[in-house]
């Protein structure tokens, strides 16, 4: 087990160190996420009466679009200097490489979401202090990271690179977005984890299914 988890930790640490030195990803995700809120504010003309119905959608649209940046960078960085080939040559299982990449996408996304959420809550005027909301965000972001890591690995090898990623990613992630928006709507309304009903199991089931499938197909996708 430690043989399997250690490379995952090393990979994640490598991405974190890279990010600490360059500081390009998290900052652009934050600015992009905030910019989306401004755009949606004008596009949907958010009034205090409509916040409860509109805010969860805006929140998740911003998280999803900002998340795509993290996904495309995860493998684009490796590709630039042939780093992916180096990674594949190391005597480490492909599953560890996949999970390391998915974990670093997850960490960057959660970090950005943790900063954006209070700002959103302040701008839109809802309460972000809710265990149900935090659980929803963690589960949904895990789904984003798992599927996103796989499609980023595919997209980076194609001719069109990052352009293809959203086209592949969004149709597949739709159930998570639907579930997360509905669960957030309920959580903002003051429901506890029990009150959210089948949305969290839906997202959890999505995570579990793709956590099994994606590492396997990842090893097929990256092989030469």
């Amino acid at each position: 087990m430690t043989d399997f988890l250690r490379p995952v930790g090393v990979l994640v640490w490598k991405d974190i160190v890279l990010e600490l030195r360059s500081r390009e990803l998290v900052v652009s995700m934050l600015v992009f996420g905030l910019m989306l809120v401004v755009v949606f504010n004008f596009a949907l003309s958010v009034t205090p009466q409509r916040v409860a119905t509109v805010a969860p959608g805006i929140l998740w649209a911003s998280f999803a679009f900002a998340g795509v940046l993290a996904m495309s960078r995860a493998f684009a960085r490796e590709r630039e200097q042939g780093g992916l080939d180096g990674l594949l040559l190391t005597p480490v299982s492909r599953d560890s490489i996949f999970l390391g990449k998915a974990a670093s996408i997850f960490i960057f996304m959660v970090l950005v979401e943790a900063i954006l959420l209070p700002i959103f809550a302040g701008l839109m005027g809802f309460s972000a202090v809710s265990f149900a909301l935090v659980l929803t965000i963690v589960l949904a972001t895990a789904g984003f990271a798992i599927v996103g890591a796989l499609f980023a690995a595919i997209a980076v090898q194609t001719k069109s690179r990052e352009i293809l990623l959203p086209v592949l990613f969004f149709p597949v992630i739709l159930p998570v977005i639907v579930g997360a928006v509905e669960a957030t709507k309920l959580a903002i309304g003051g429901e506890s984890v029990v009150g959210i009903g089948h949305w969290l199991p839906l997202i959890g089931a999505f995570d579990a299914v793709f956590l099994v499938i994606c590492p396997w197909v990842f090893s097929l996708v990256v092989e030469e």
């Binding site: 796989l150 592949l168 149709p171 159930p175 639907v178 097929l220």
Partner: protein, 251 residues
């Protein structure tokens, strides 16, 4: 230029194959003509919906055919990933192309039907939403294959997308079914209708199903053989180039 034994095999088969396929095409063509005659002449005009109801005899079978095609993509793609035989990929790709055509036509005929019956081109019902997502997933399938760096990568990416897309659609269906923003399907939805379907209508629908199954099989068959011809041309071109290079080196 010498011909590899495998190619000779394929050539002798190629002499035999078109006959069966052409007979199948003939049968499909006759079935389709009879089908169109039955839909427009034999089937009674719907008392409530009028002539627009006839689009249903195209719409419903085509929807089921696209699901069959995508199921084929899923199975053949999984077999390709396990066995790595190009015939499974050819089947998967052919089924995906034909499936995209059928599902596009399903959406278009549905829209034509919805406007006079529901009063709107589109309603966000679970069935419609799932179909639209299905369409997007398999359009992404075509894109992923088109942009892949080479054919073997395209085959792997396609199989992966076919696998994930198929599993995803099941989850998509649940998520949009539970989505509170969606109203229950209108009373005249395909399922509500099939209960009240008059016997002649049911007969016409059954016949339409049969002819569309023939059309689906024929189209996939034709596409698979076209694709193996493409592969043959590619390998011939490759060996021709190699023998030319060899001759040039000999001089």
């Amino acid at each position: 230029m010498s011909v590899a034994p495998g190619q000779q095999d394929q050539r002798s088969k190629a002499v035999l194959r078109p006959n069966i396929k052409e007979i199948f095409l003939l049968v499909t063509g006759i079935l389709m003509l009879v089908n169109i005659y039955m839909i427009f002449m034999v089937a009674p005009t719907d008392a409530n919906l009028g002539n627009v109801q006839r689009v249903f005899y195209f719409h419903f079978p085509m929807a089921i055919m696209s699901f069959l095609a995508f199921f084929t993509v899923f199975v053949a793609g999984a077999l390709y990933l396990v066995r790595r035989e190009s015939r499974w990929d050819n089947l998967s790709y052919a089924a995906a192309e034909v499936g995209v055509i059928f599902i596009t036509l399903t959406l278009l005929t549905g829209v034509i039907w919805a406007k006079p019956v529901w009063g709107a081109w589109w309603l966000w019902t679970p069935r419609l939403t799932t179909t639209l997502i299905l369409w997007l997933i398999y359009v992404a399938y075509m894109m992923i294959r088109a942009y892949a760096p080479n054919q073997s990568k395209a085959a792997v990416y396609g199989s992966v997308m076919g696998l994930i897309g198929f599993i995803d659609v099941l989850i998509v269906y649940f998520s949009v079914e539970w989505w509170p923003g969606i109203h229950p399907a209108p009373v005249v939805g395909p399922l509500a209708e099939s209960d009240s379907l008059e016997s002649t209508m049911r007969g016409v629908l059954g016949f339409s199903f049969l002819s569309f199954i023939f059309l689906l099989v024929y189209l996939v068959w034709e596409r698979v053989s076209l694709r193996s011809t493409e592969d043959n041309v590619k390998s011939l071109r490759f060996s021709l180039r190699r023998s030319r290079a060899g001759a040039a080196a000999g001089e």
